[in-house]
């Protein structure tokens, strides 16, 4: 079955071999023009020739590596892995159906959503990859710069363009950055990878302060919009919170300012040690004052002569993101409340999985990819097709991927919420645990990853199975728990309220626990609580930690993090290690 056939069948439309893959109507997202399409064609041709040269032995694995990486192709434990870009986490329903098709045809029927708002396939054959990319091109997607020492996919608020608490829609700015950074000739061989995140909301749902560059959209005293610019955040072996380098950047200078940051980093960043090559180390070693002085110096040189996106072209990009036409309707609040009373599951779902929409009568719905005992971020092809259908039926054909490895339907009418929840329940996608202890971020770990020292997924599953009482989970409330299988920290364990790091201790898996991290605007890095636990002990340790919190909190409004910040590590140490 071809991609078009598959999409049309999934969308329950009559198949016509000449019809283009059905583009959902009026989705508020960037749409490719002829230029973008030709660009992708040329890029795929290039990768195909690189793969052929590699297969013919003309390219060494060493030389092939940066090329395949810049196209999202990794070599993992068992096979090649392909990571596709979902720019700032936004998808339309047709794209989701294409992802389902790829999962069926080239993988084992699954996809894995990542903490970078991207999706990974763990089992593609190298020789199939150009074909996969051609299928993606048909739905306006690609895998460019999802890996390698270059500027990666720009990430943002998964509720962008919908959230009640946002100042403005950050997506057009993300798209401007996406285009500027795509095959930027000067910055394709940086000292190390480079990640940019943009947020415009009050809450930070994109962990922007842990990115190489964080852009917070703000309004100054004159009511003008601009960027607060932070540099040098990151996780991995050395977690660092990004530092402020500019209080207010006028938006028309965004690209020249980014050029200045990247150029300064490209020259100063260390190339003698892979583990000291990220910009966070450059900023720490140079000092943030000196680093920002150098950036300002370079920026002042180029701000008027270098490239900034002309206003007219900026407007063209912004047009793609104009708000959809929301239906004005009065939702039936009484009926809604009575459904919550009758259905515990629905009540939890509304409480945890919805967020205030900017339009009255609408809500933002999160779909948890952390079902009871499931693999965090994993989704089957059938579930993808279902999510696409639900997006068509209830969310103006739009879907988002979040950095916590969940999905979002951003524009759902409150009147449709109950039926949506029922349909999600049937597909085992209705876990009402968003933001709760079992909304775990986990990396692939030793089950898939070539770098891992310990298992992550099975630990996440054990914890989810242990904490399976929704009442207790809701009582514990807002807690983040992340599990990384090695010090590269792909699952962001440093910034979770409860972080678990799997290490190899004399051939045995050992799990180190950190407490007190946060990836929101009150960013903080978790601290190790004491000696590690074995795979058999770790669930008990988490139980102990949660019991300390429940016993010690002043009231239900004191979150785990607030309690930890007040009480410190002592009560946890005492309970975990029986020390007085």
């Amino acid at each position: 079955m071809s991609l078009q056939q598959s999409i049309q069948q999934a969308a329950q439309k009559e198949y016509s071999p000449t019809a283009p893959a059905i583009a959902p109507k009026n989705v508020q997202m960037y749409k490719y023009d002829q230029f973008d399409d030709e660009f992708i064609t040329q890029r795929i041709d290039q990768l195909r020739s690189q793969i052929n040269r590699r297969l013919a032995g003309e390219l060494s694995e060493d030389e092939f590596k940066p090329l395949r990486l810049q196209n999202g192709v990794y070599l993992q434990l068992h096979a090649y892995m392909l990571r596709l870009a979902i720019p700032y986490g936004q998808l339309n329903s047709t794209q989701m159906r294409a992802l389902a098709y790829i999962a069926r045809k080239y993988d084992k029927g699954f996809g894995h959503f990542t903490t970078r708002q991207n999706i990974q396939y763990n089992w593609p054959a190298l020789s199939d990859i150009p074909e996969i990319l051609e299928d993606l091109q048909k739905v306006e997607m690609h895998a460019i710069q999802t890996s390698g020492n270059c500027i990666r996919n720009t990430t943002s608020d998964p509720f962008a363009g919908a959230a009640a608490d946002e100042l403005t829609d950050p997506r057009p700015w993300c798209e401007i950055i996406r285009q500027w950074s795509t095959l930027h000739p000067e910055f394709a061989f940086l000292p190390r990878k480079f990640k940019i995140a943009v947020n415009a909301a009050e809450q930070d749902r994109a962990a922007i302060l842990y990115h190489d560059v964080a852009l917070q959209i703000i309004e100054n005293d004159q009511g003008e919009m601009g960027f607060k610019v932070y540099v040098g955040g990151g996780q991995g072996r050395t977690p660092v919170i990004a530092k402020l380098v500019r209080e207010f950047l006028e938006p028309q200078y965004l690209l020249s300012y980014l050029d200045a940051i990247l150029r300064t980093y490209n020259m100063l960043g260390r190339r003698d040690n892979l583990y000291k090559a990220r910009i966070k180390i450059t900023v720490n070693e140079t000092g943030v004052e000196e680093f920002s002085r150098l950036v300002e110096l370079e920026w002042n040189r180029i701000k008027d002569t270098g490239f900034n996106l002309p206003e007219e072209q900026k407007q063209t990009i912004f047009k793609h993101f104009e708000l959809p036409e929301f239906e004005l309707h009065q939702y039936d609040a009484e009926k809604f409340e009575s459904k919550k009373l009758k259905n515990n599951g629905f009540d939890y779902f509304v409480k945890n999985n919805t967020f205030a929409h900017k339009q009255d009568g609408y809500t933002i719905v999160s779909i948890s990819l952390k079902p009871h005992g499931g693999i965090p971020g994993d989704i089957s092809a059938d579930q993808m097709d279902l999510v696409a259908q639900l997006a068509d039926d209830y969310s103006l054909s739009e879907i988002r991927a979040t950095h916590r490895q969940n999905l979002v339907l951003p524009h759902v009418k409150l009147d449709d919420l109950f039926i949506l929840w029922q349909k999600l329940t049937k597909a085992k996608l209705a876990a009402g645990n968003i933001g709760l202890l079992t909304d775990i971020i986990a990396c692939p770990g030793l089950d898939y990853c070539a770098l891992a020292n310990a298992r992550s997924i099975p630990i996440a599953q054990m914890i989810a199975e242990h904490f399976d009482d929704m009442k207790k989970l809701n009582d514990l409330g807002d807690i983040t728990l992340n599990i990384s299988g090695c010090i590269n920290a792909c699952a962001h364990h440093h910034v979770a309220n409860i972080g678990i790091l799997g290490v190899d201790k004399k051939g045995e898996e050992s799990y180190q626990v950190t407490l007190g991290g946060s990836s929101r605007s009150d960013a903080d890095i978790g601290k190790i609580v004491g000696p590690g636990f074995s795979g058999d002990e770790i669930v008990g340790a988490i139980e102990t930690i949660t019991n300390v919190y429940l016993a010690g909190r002043t009231n239900n409004d004191e979150t785990f993090l607030a309690y930890y910040r007040r009480a410190g590590q002592t009560p946890f140490k005492e309970a975990l290690y029986n020390v007085a």
């Binding site: 230029f35 290039q46 090329l67 095959l183 930027h184």
Partner: protein
């Protein structure tokens, strides 16, 4: 063999000098940066055409006063992953207004050719034992760009 941005090749007449012991100066030599710094006066006096090469860690700022007396600057790739030459080429042309030839030498790979040209490099010294045909192909691989090229040229670029 040399490659230019149009994908044309030419014989390389230059010799990259690494060891300056007992060196007799000649116009077709590309001299080490450190040697240039100490022997500027003599080199300028003896040669009609001055060519020097910089390693990726060399301080390009220190060269800015001398650029009018230099005809060719070669930027070395100690390994292809060291991407400082891209920024050095940009700075030479855009910041310091260098009008001579900029060349990439050492160990770049064919897939970097077009990036180099777009950053202002004029010629690439194709590493020995590599098939020039691949370099010719890669030099003009893409004809769609999201950025302007060196000197702010908009041909084939989106903006």
């Amino acid at each position: 063999m040399l490659l230019n941005k149009h994908g044309e090749t030419a014989e390389n007449e230059n010799i990259i000098i690494k060891d300056v012991d007992g060196l007799t100066l000649h116009d077709d030599q590309i001299l080490p940066y450190a040697y240039w710094l100490t022997q500027k006066a003599e080199i300028k006096q003896k040669l009609n055409r001055v060519s020097i090469w910089l390693d990726s860690h060399d301080d390009i700022e220190a060269l800015s006063d001398d650029l009018s007396s230099i005809d060719l600057i070669a930027l070395n790739f100690p390994k292809f992953g060291d991407g400082r030459a891209f920024t050095m080429a940009h700075l030479l042309q855009d910041k310091f207004g260098f009008k001579g030839e900029i060349r990439a030498i050492g160990h770049p790979i064919a897939d970097q050719a077009q990036f180099l040209f777009r950053c202002g490099v004029d010629s690439i010294d194709i590493p020995a034992a590599q098939d020039p045909a691949i370099w010719v192909k890669e030099a003009t691989r893409m004809s769609r760009f999201y950025q302007r090229s060196a000197e702010n040229i908009t041909a084939n670029s989106k903006y």
